[in-house]
């Protein structure tokens, strides 16, 4: 083993003795779980305003489903990244499980999961709140819809940034060869 000498009972020693598969599994769970949390949160924020506004202005329903679709896209990103991450999991023999390279792979998957999960959480929230305002403004004045949609598109780009960085991180997840 390389690196600084680690005393057998320090916190650092405890941390590196956690299996890299634990970190990987948690990363994958966060990637899908927190993304779906963000998508659901955004959908209910938009949906409740959309339903109420559509009572007086029924014409807004079809157009404003775009906001809901943008929120849904956030959940799909989470699913895609979770599937990609789980294909990166490989078995290594127990002798190599705590090698630096294994730990690195485990941490890479963990980080990727956190990146994607939390980026999608805030993206879903952002798109949801803007979608709610979009529905209410569209009900009053239909020329506002397209302009507010542009803001939503910028907002949904945030989730995409998270997915890109997450996938780049996960490409680093190379386990030691047998």
């Amino acid at each position: 083993m390389s690196g600084a000498a680690i005393h057998a009972s320090s916190w650092a020693a405890a941390l590196v003795r956690i299996s890299p598969y634990t970190f990987s599994a948690i990363g994958i769970a966060i990637s899908i779980g927190v993304s779906v949390l963000g998508a659901a949160w955004g959908i209910y924020i938009t949906g409740s305003s959309l339903i109420g506004a559509a009572i007086e202005a029924p014409r807004i329903t079809s157009k404003n489903l775009i906001s809901v679709i943008f929120c849904e896209a956030v959940a799909i990103y989470g699913v895609i990244v979770a599937i990609i991450l789980q294909t990166k999991l490989e078995s290594v023999p127990s002798s190599k499980m705590y090698d630096a390279e294994s730990l690195r792979a485990g941490y890479a998957i963990f980080a990727s999961g956190i990146i994607v999960g939390f980026a999608n959480l805030v993206c879903g929230l952002c798109v949801g709140i803007i979608g709610s305002s979009c529905a209410l403004s569209d009900a009053q004045n239909s020329t506002l819809f397209v302009k507010i949609l542009v803001i939503e598109i910028f907002g949904s780009a945030l989730g995409l940034f998270g997915v890109i960085v997450g996938i780049i991180m996960s490409a680093q997840a190379t386990w030691p060869t047998k």
């Binding site: 949160w41 209910y44 924020i45 409740s48 305003s49 959309l50 339903i51 109420g52 506004a53 009572i55 007086e56 202005a57 929230l125 709140i129 709610s132 305002s133 529905a135 209410l136 009900a139 009053q140």
Partner: protein
Amino acid sequence: MYGFEALTFNIHGGYLEAIVRGHRAGLLTTADYNNLCQCENLDDIKMHLSATKYGSYLQNEPSPLHTTTIVEKCTLKLVDDYKHMLCQATEPMSTFLEYIRYGHMIDNVVLIVTGTLHERDVQELLEKCHPLGMFDSIATLAVAQNMRELYRLVLVDTPLAPYFSECLTSEDLDDMNIEIMRNTLYKAYLEDFYKFCQKLGGATSEIMSDLLAFEADRRAVNITINSIGTELTREDRKKLYSNFGLLYPYGHEELAICEDIDQVRGVMEKYPPYQAIFSKMSYGESQMLDKAFYEEEVRRLCLAFEQQFHYAVFFAYMRLREQEIRNLMWISECVAQNQKSRIHDSVVYMF
């Protein structure tokens, strides 16, 4: 936490906020008012209103229409909207919506007590009460002889009970005492509402504080002007002013000693938001003051809709509808009495 209400407001309030914004879109615009002002008689007014949201309420009325019928049916729409929102609301929105009614309850109580004093029939008075301010034991008010009985027999079971602590005397009810009672109750109600909104926090408390402060200041000015030349002493007058608002406390000190309108104007011009109102009127003219206050109130109420995720839109919508009903009443009366030149004296345009 102020600024993050957008994250959780829609759980309980999203649907109702969207509904109230839909109702706001149905308020009459300047173009509608111009059409109404061109009408020759009340049937024309009914025809123009049938194209608005009031249509379904007025369409079954038989032809010799009366202005009171028009006002009654339009108020019915307001009440229906309110009840629909109230039954869908959860705490704390339902408490907030209930607070909006208490002002009408106070007006109804005073109406019935005054009417009984002048020996009118109770049924006739009940028909004139505002529907939003009705409560179960309201007819029993006619029996009370003084304020203590009023409280003990009827009001202790209503939401107005806590506002009575400052009013309980054993004096008999007469015109002057009833007006003082009305103003004392309203003062307690406004202060209670203000404290409730402060507790809610966030955008609701910020916007409602502004709206309620304006209401408190407007009432202070009206109390001052109406009590000039009456037997109301300065200390009594000061007791009727609310304990919040832009004029509290120094403006109240100065208003309490005013003896005529020009002194009132002198006091109010020290406050920039009210200076604009008072500068529009030339010296000695107080008839335009009511309209100027209504216009300022409508301007602030319309601004409440600029922000999302708070409860003040409900309050603003109710007040705007009431102003609209006042406008319709004035227009109908002018048309019915053939005084169309005076229509623009008192109509407050909203959008």
